[in-house]
């Protein structure tokens, strides 16, 4: 048991702060200050040419909250987030499970794990574009389906659609689930599972009562990565939907493009609040720090 902060001697507090001070020195000017600037800008008025007048008005918030578009954007964003989360979680969980519990040779497991991480080292945008030769109107999938006579007209829904957006997200983000879940599963003592088998647990029981609870921190961490990336993203939606769909951040991007800083800032503040709520809900269920440093 570590002592609670109240009991720690002042010296420990000082050394603790000394160690984290470089981190704080970066985060204050490049995270706290920019967020405060955006918060301030959301109350300002603009001349429409990018000039901001220090003012205090809630007009931007009223605009954003009254717009029917806002609700539509949030619904679209939440739809993409939930779909991506479900697919990345299912694939990520079972890939990690397979690597940890089914691959008997440890070296092979590490090799296969690296195999999953390699595409992660290339540009996101390039990886997204790489779906064009496959999903496009004249792409491989359509060519194959036409060739075998399954369809007569090329399927248009494959590219520049919501389907393409979700495919691109899952392609890019499953790794963010695999890595933390793999990490927490790898630390499950195999003897626990033997004990469960000895006690008569079925395969399903082991999954439900041992593996899932003990991978909780990995699942939570992966969920935070995936949810915050999808909700904060705009270029996948923009490119893969061909402009047909929009998300909260892509609308924000359009606002910035036409120099409507206050409205952009107001919607950014709202989105950040939503994200904070989601993440703190996750952190409330799972104490990531406790589990990681365990």
């Amino acid at each position: 048991m570590q002592p609670s902060p109240a009991q720690t001697p002042p010296r420990a507090n000082l050394t603790g702060w000394l160690y984290v001070s470089p981190l704080v020195l970066v985060l204050v000017p490049f995270f706290v200050a920019p967020i405060l600037v955006v918060l301030a800008a959301s109350f300002f008025t603009t001349d429409g040419f990018g000039g901001l007048t220090p003012d205090f008005t809630l007009a931007s918030y009223v605009d954003v909250l009254h717009s029917a578009l806002t609700l539509k954007l949030y619904l679209a964003t939440i739809k993409f987030t939930v779909l991506t989360w479900v697919f990345t979680l299912i694939i990520g969980f079972f890939v990690a499970y397979f690597l940890v519990f089914h691959v008997r040779n440890q070296l092979l497991a590490i090799g296969l794990f690296l195999l999953c991480t390699v595409p992660f080292w290339t540009s996101n945008i390039i990886r997204m574009i790489s779906w064009i030769p496959l999903l496009g109107k004249e792409g491989l999938i359509n060519q194959a389906l036409l060739g075998t006579g399954v369809i007569r007209q090329p399927l248009e829904v494959l590219l520049f659609s919501d389907l393409a957006v979700v495919i691109a997200y899952v392609h890019q983000l499953t790794i963010f689930m695999i890595v933390p879940i793999f990490n927490s599963m790898a630390r499950i003592d195999k003897k626990l599972i033997e004990a469960a088998i000895d006690a008569g647990a079925s395969r399903f029981d082991i999954m439900r009562l041992v593996v899932v609870p003990m991978s909780k921190s990995g699942i939570a961490l992966g969920t935070i990565f995936v949810v915050s990336i999808v909700m904060g993203d705009f270029f996948v939606v923009k490119v893969m939907s061909g402009g047909g769909s929009a998300s909260v951040v892509s609308a924000f991007y359009e606002d910035v493009g036409v120099l409507q800083y206050p409205t952009a800032a107001a919607s950014a503040v709202l989105l950040t609040l939503v994200l904070v709520a989601i993440v703190s809900l996750i952190l409330r269920t799972v104490d990531i720090r406790q589990e990681i440093t365990r």
């Binding site: 570590q2 002592p3 902060p5 720690t8 420990a12 050394t15 702060w17 160690y19 470089p22 981190l23 704080v24 985060l27 000017p29 490049f30 200050a33 967020i35 405060l36 600037v37 955006v38 800008a41 079972f94 890939v95 089914h102 008997r104 296969l112 390699v118 080292w121 290339t122 540009s123 996101n124 390039i126 990886r127 574009i129 790489s130 779906w131 030769p133 496959l134 792409g139 491989l140 060519q143 392609h171 499953t174 990490n183 003897k191 033997e194 088998i197 000895d198 082991i206 935070i224 915050s228 904060g232 993203d233 270029f235 951040v249 924000f252 952009a264 950014a268 950040t272 994200l275 440093t293």
Partner: protein, 296 residues
């Protein structure tokens, strides 16, 4: 357990590895289902990428989709010579330099923060949540905030000031979280042994912790490098007048519709492989060195 173990020759599988597969050494049906799933995942992961690598080697008549038209290095030459594709070479240089700076800072700061977070101290939760906030804040929003902040302070945004800071606000939380996982495997007994032998705090860090944690530090470095090399949203409003590579790629996707784009994909992949190869090589080297010094 003993009944199962009696059926199996001890040499075939050690007790720990057959935990999930108690049925007489054979693979359970779930193995085949999951192996298929894994195979499909890997195919879906690599398939599209291979398509663009192959398509980037077309000749001048080449298009964005199959079938492939001839083969040449035309689009690679085009990428680095043509003006209309933009300043690929310059942005590439800047991205590499920026990624190296980000990597060094990320490793040092994450390591120190990792040390700090090992013990509780007053306000640690506050710093932790600030870090998580920095991780989950939408990149474009933070980028805009940083851009506006620089504007308000009368500073010029550039890739080595504002973009560097904006990228650190994203790589540091990742680095510290990886550091947590790395440190959780560090046995405190080694550190105490060092103190018992009269080591100062500095000596125990430099002579015990860093060598033991070296592979983990390389992992943090890899994270830092690739996150920076690929960072887009946070750099968009903060890079100033000179683009980094992802920004260049982004503007290419809006203007260029030729296999040049695919050629760029192939080039960036090769660079990544060189970086990973070098990092893995250094991990192996570190462990070999440690192994030999332990024996000697």
């Amino acid at each position: 357990m003993s009944a199962v173990a009696a059926d199996m020759p001890e040499t075939v599988a050690p007790a720990t590895t057959k935990a999930i597969a108690p049925s007489k050494g054979g693979r359970p049906w779930t193995f085949y289902v999951l192996a298929t799933l894994f195979g499909l995942y890997v195919i879906a992961l690599y398939g599209p990428m291979f398509c663009i690598y192959v398509l980037s080697f077309q000749d001048i008549r080449g298009g964005l989709v199959f079938p492939m038209k001839g083969h040449s290095l035309h689009w690679f030459v085009d990428l680095f010579t043509q003006v209309r594709t933009g300043d690929v070479k310059g942005s590439f240089d800047r991205s590499i330099k920026l990624a190296v700076i980000v990597t060094v800072i990320t490793v040092v700061v994450s390591f120190l923060a990792g040390l700090g977070f090992r013990k509780r101290f007053r306000g640690d939760t506050f710093v932790f949540y600030m870090m998580i906030g920095s991780l989950v804040a939408p990149g474009l929003v933070l980028g805009l905030g940083t851009g506006l902040l620089f504007q308000a302070l009368g500073l010029n945004a550039s890739w080595y000031t504002s973009a560097l800071g904006a990228q650190l606000s994203w790589t540091l939380p990742f680095g510290v979280l990886v550091m947590f996982a790395v440190m959780s495997r560090f046995n405190h007994v080694w550190e105490e042994a060092a103190y018992d032998l009269g080591a100062s705090r500095w000596q125990s860090i430099w002579l015990v912790m860093i060598p033991v944690l070296a592979p983990g530090l390389v992992a943090v470095a890899l994270f830092g490098f690739t996150l920076s090399y690929d960072e887009f949203a946070r750099s968009l409003q903060t890079a100033g007048s000179l683009n980094t590579l992802p920004l260049e790629i982004w503007s290419m996707t809006l203007n260029v519709t030729s296999p040049s784009l695919y050629a760029l994909g192939t080039v960036t992949t090769i660079v990544s492989f060189v970086v990973i190869g070098a990092s893995l090589g250094s991990i192996v080297l570190i462990q070999k060195k440690r192994g030999s010094s332990a024996k000697g």
